[in-house]
Symmetry: C2
Subunit: 331 residues, 2 copies
């Protein structure tokens, strides 16, 4: 069996191209990096636990990809350029097959977004993966959750619910067929954080959050941080073809509103910035979709409309909560 | 039971005084901080796992203290000023007593070193604690492991082995008495990272490492990074009064050389910087102790001398390794 140090060396030390702003990398007491002048540092952390965020059926390559993707999604929501990641990896044993697949998934997404693995810690214990990612943003231009104002337009960056539907397909044998299976499971296992869009939204979006726990749950955080409420046009919520061809309309909207793991962005734009948003995103294949509008604070904070009428959502439309709900592989 | 968000809010959101360079803290997708102009960012990560790095008998307050202390010790070894920490906390349940004690230990050491908790993630699963700490250092002044040169003098910052002896005392009923018990267990549970000394060593030390896995293991890393070897005078290795009054001389040196968790610094100083080191550390209660000298690379890389003669260490003097040794609460 490999010892701790050669294990780290073999899979993580030889990590390809380093960013030139990474001065000291893996193998010292700490990593030394250099933030650009007149830029702020943005730091995010996400953990994935075996049996909670993934299970034995999840490919190790997907775990390596996703732990980076979920962190880059948080950086994207802040408008930050991803730069460096640190990996805390707790493993029951030094399984070389698992490690090589996990490392491949992690390195691929890091290379793609020019993000350098600068350090971390490897320990023995129940399988748990934590990444802290660091990015930078021009000073004062980070986008927070708290900048939404009444009258702002509310957008999402792409179709919702696909990852949740992909999860159902991996768990329910009777759903695990159909032409969309592969695409939906890809959305679950290999999410693409909206890195470029996040940076485009600097000075355009008033507030932004990434949708990791479901639109309802995450929008609620944005609204409560900003002290506002929102009207949403239910039929404006974007659904993929895979979604509409697989589920009934009701089931599809429920999935889109409550399922997590999509890693799309939800953001607000002031009236006078709508044209700017359109210009800046004209080249994108998936353009942001306007789903509603911010209002003065009121209860309930989120109100739905369908064909101009107020539409009452069933009560069970709620986001996932780590400590109240049963533990599933959902989040 | 608290839900995830109110749990985080209750114990971690209300965290006292924030550094003025923390612009956006807990409660957004990411934290925004500002590194001083002409400074480099230093990032370190350490994980502590239940059943490996601590056990049921460890006070939660000590776990909260120590996960910060071990990270600040890494920053100290780089010469960095500690600034911000991110906490990834995986918990089997939301035990309020445990959380309040853990948070108290964590906040106390953060306050003491003016380090702000800027964010993190809380997940359900087997008890595991990861902290990523960020510090800053004047550009180009970070101290690495790789700067030792033949002829440099080798120092440690204080007595070694006390934490290991403290661990023995918590595990062996027959040792758990004596006048030194409390002090040694304090050294194990509440280590004090050498934060001020680390910053003093900028432009003075050629290479530096913190002693977390035992002097032999950590010095070996420093030597191999620098491509050098070292002669150590066995009787120069500092032992505390508690150590010499508790163990035989042989057992005391073995503990000092191989036990982990002391979080002292081991560093090298060029001949012409020795006076500067003495001046800069004259005010310290515990002054650095010179234990030997760096030599040209040779095998074995570490050679001991006692009263001028080469001294052969028994073979079992080896550092702890996470994946080769049996799992204990030792490291």
């Amino acid at each position: 069996m490999l010892n701790e140090f050669s294990l780290i060396e073999q899979y993580f030390l030889n990590n390809k191209k380093q960013r030139p702003d990474s001065i000291v990398g893996i193998g010292d007491d700490g990593a030394v990096t250099r933030v650009q002048p007149n830029h702020d540092l943005v730091t995010v952390t996400d953990t994935m636990v075996n049996g909670v965020h993934f299970d034995e059926s999840t490919p190790p390559r997907a775990i390596g990809h996703k732990i980076v993707a979920v962190n880059l999604s948080d950086l994207a929501a802040m408008g930050a350029e991803p730069c460096w990641i640190s990996l805390a990896l707790t493993l029951p044993d030094a399984d070389e097959t698992w490690l090589s697949e996990f490392a491949a998934g992690l390195h691929e997404i890091c290379q793609y977004y020019d993000c350098t693995l600068i350090g971390g810690d490897t320990t023995r214990g129940p399988l748990t993966v934590t990444v802290t990612a660091q990015g930078q943003v021009p000073a004062g231009e980070a986008i927070t959750r708290s900048g939404a104002k009444p009258g702002d337009w509310l957008y999402v960056s792409g179709p919702l619910g696909d990852a949740g539907l992909g999860l159902d397909m991996t768990q329910q044998a009777d759903m695990a067929t159909g032409p969309h299976l592969q695409r939906l499971v890809e959305r679950l296992y290999y999410p693409h954080p909206r890195v470029a869009l996040g940076q485009t939204l600097r000075n355009v979006a008033g507030a932004c959050i990434d949708i990791s726990d479901g639109l309802l749950a995450d929008l609620q955080h944005l609204l409560s941080s900003s002290g506002v409420a929102a009207d949403i046009e239910l039929d404006k919520i974007p659904l993929s073809l895979a979604m509409t061809e697989t589920l009934s309309q009701d089931a599809a909207y429920k999935k889109a509103l409550t399922a997590g793991d999509d890693y799309e962005l939800c953001f607000t734009v002031e009236e006078h910035n709508r044209g700017r948003l359109e210009t800046l995103t004209a080249h994108l294949k998936n353009k942001p979709i306007c789903i509603g509008r911010i209002t003065q604070l009121r209860e309930p904070a989120i109100q739905f409309k369908l064909h101009g009428e107020v539409y009452e959502l069933p009560l069970e439309y709620q986001g996932y909560n780590h400590f109240n709900n049963s533990v599933t592989a959902k989040d």
